[in-house]
């Protein structure tokens, strides 16, 4: 029995010296969470992408007879739809990781409140969580791209490499606003709203499965304003080797500004929830 005074080394506890050093202190938390939950994610990460490629790209796509001009430069429907599905996959991960899990950490288990009682601040907590989201997405999308490689849908190796890295930006473009939403809502029923009116329409009408030109001139413009189209088009240009660098810069800027603004707002909102 130890009459607690503590023995052994006594490194003094410290406040983090900076934003990154504080977030890195949470690395073991996220790794431990991953170690406990990775089994549930195996199917989503490895099997689901393969099923989608097979069902939509190969089997359904076999019925699509269109030339490469219609398919935005792709030689086949599979080559057209595959990059779109990768970007949509990144978006789906952002929605699944930043909705109920974030809400639960504020409302149910209140884990954020235990974190803020330590020397960490809302900025550290948000950076660590988004950093973990990005790494997880890069891993999942990396697997997705590897699954796609044997289908011969990529033009250049470097294009695929950059397309892969771009998914880190795509997931932040969705992860930060969704996190902000989850930190701001009063009740979990609000999630139905962003799944039904956000994620599903975005997946269906943002150029993932068909060229947005098919929507007609007005709806096309609306679709092009959506963050997913920015990600889908950027990924597709890189995968197909048909790159309009000016447009690519707009896509990167759009997603970067969206992520940056929502990140800042999410830190503020989390701070308001935890410190009052």
């Amino acid at each position: 029995m130890v009459d607690y005074a503590g023995s052994g080394p006594a490194t003094p506890p410290t406040a983090p010296s900076g934003l990154v050093s504080g977030a890195l202190r949470m690395g073991d938390y996220w790794l431990t969470v991953l170690a406990r939950t990775w089994k549930g994610g195996v199917i989503t990460t490895f099997v689901t992408p393969f099923f989608y490629v097979l069902a939509l790209g190969v089997l359904l796509g076999g019925f699509v007879e269109a030339d490469s001009t219609t398919l935005e430069g792709a030689d086949s429907y599979l080559a057209f739809v595959a990059p779109g599905m990768v970007a949509a996959h990144a978006m789906t991960i952002a929605f699944s990781e930043m909705t109920y899990p974030v809400y639960g950490m504020v409302k149910w288990q209140r884990i954020y409140f235990s974190m803020i009682a330590s020397p960490l601040t809302a900025s550290h907590i948000v950076l660590a969580q988004l950093g973990f989201l990005m790494l997880r997405t890069l891993f999942a999308c990396g697997v997705f791209l590897l699954v796609l490689t044997p289908f011969g849908v990529f033009e250049t190796w470097w294009g695929v490499l950059v397309a892969w890295l771009v998914q880190g930006l795509v997931v932040l473009g969705f992860g930060t606003p969704v996190m902000l939403f989850s930190l701001s809502i009063k009740g979990e029923e609000s999630f139905a709203l962003i799944f039904r009116l956000g994620m599903i329409p975005l997946t269906l009408f943002s150029g993932t499965f068909f060229p947005v030109a098919n929507l007609g001139p007005v709806l096309e413009k609306i679709a092009m304003a959506s963050p997913l189209w920015q990600g889908v088009n950027l990924t597709r240009m890189l995968a197909l080797g048909e790159i309009d660098w000016g447009l690519a810069a707009i896509h990167v800027g759009y997603l970067g500004v969206l992520a940056g603004v929502c990140w800042w707002l999410a830190v503020r909102r989390l701070g308001e929830r935890l410190v009052s």
């Binding site: 130890v2 052994g8 490194t11 406040a15 949470m26 431990t32 409140f113 020397p119 410190v275």
Partner: protein, 304 residues
């Protein structure tokens, strides 16, 4: 360790803490006693740097929570009223990840976990899921977590609320050991027995103000007689009968279910009541407690 002068906290129009002065010295077990809504938890949250004061001055370790929150928090242990444990992780991992938040090396955190699990008697539950623990075990785990950084001040907000009597005594025993080891304890409670058992010094709070300050025995001595005679009559009779016995004691309190007669000799009071031909349904003589202090100071019981 802690000093507050004219400390206030408002939430909109509601003023939870209305200008309190507190000084906590090292090694002391300092209590905030009061009913729910007295402003105890709001005060704790300000000290823990998670609630900016609305007015007044607050210093913890000589630092300003508004400027040096993370530095102060690195040296505090916080055991909140609700266990904010991660139910996805097991007992061991809850302690491990928390130790890392304080910038402690991995090997050192692991060594401390062994010690702390032993201290809170959870060694055999190290790999158990948090959900499988009883309420008392969860609270002990939360206390262990709050000790991972070997804090100079341990803050406990209602540490035994919601626990059964046996679990409460286990917690008290652990806290008493910490106190003996020289850890400064800061605790809020609405249990007078908890405050009497653990606190060297306490303040009684009511409606955001400090209404008394001293040692538990000192407060009892100052605000109450040594003994209390409790008389229980039929329902609704207490108010009317109070006038017939009030001269027998130094002071009388009329509660809905009983009369409290304050005297240094409770047995003599009971005898005198009987000699006047009154027949209470039940009588009890007990030593005065902090509950009596609170009743005297506020006119209300702690559970009101």
């Amino acid at each position: 360790m802690i000093s507050a002068h004219g400390l206030r906290k408002s939430f909109g129009d509601f003023e939870a803490v209305r200008g309190i002065d507190v000084t906590v010295r090292p090694g002391v077990a300092f209590g905030f006693l009061g009913p729910n809504g007295a402003g105890k938890s709001s005060t704790m949250r300000m000290i823990c740097c998670v609630s900016p004061p609305s007015a007044g001055e607050l210093r913890v370790f000589g630092m300003d929570p508004a400027k040096d929150g993370p530095k102060i928090k690195a040296r505090l242990g916080v055991c909140p009223q609700e266990d904010t444990l991660d139910v996805e992780l097991n007992v061991y991992d809850n302690l491990y990840v928390y130790g890392r938040y304080f910038g402690l090396p991995r090997a050192e955190v692991k060594g401390r976990i062994e010690e702390l699990l032993d201290f809170v008697q959870l060694t055999d539950k190290a790999k158990a899921k948090v959900d499988d623990l009883s309420g008392g075990m969860k609270r002990r785990l939360t206390i262990a977590r709050s000790l991972i950084n070997r804090p100079e001040i341990l803050v406990l907000d209602e540490p035994t609320t919601g626990l059964d009597p046996q679990a409460r005594h286990v917690i008290w025993d652990r806290l008493f050991r910490l106190k003996q080891a020289g850890v400064t304890l800061l605790l809020t409670t609405h249990y007078m027995d908890e405050a009497e058992q653990l606190c060297d010094e306490l303040v009684v709070m009511d409606q955001g103000r400090i209404v008394a300050h001293g040692t538990p025995l000192g407060l009892i001595h100052e605000h109450s007689t040594r003994e209390v005679a409790e008389l229980r009559f039929g329902v609704g009779e207490h108010e009317a009968l109070a006038a017939k016995v009030e001269d027998l004691a130094e002071r009388i309190e009329v509660l809905p279910d009983r009369l409290l007669l304050y005297s240094d000799d409770g047995e003599s009071v009971i005898e005198a009541v009987h000699s006047r031909g009154l027949a209470p349904v039940a009588t009890l003589v007990r030593r005065a407690s902090l509950e009596d202090v609170f009743l005297h100071l506020t006119g209300r019981t702690l559970v009101d």
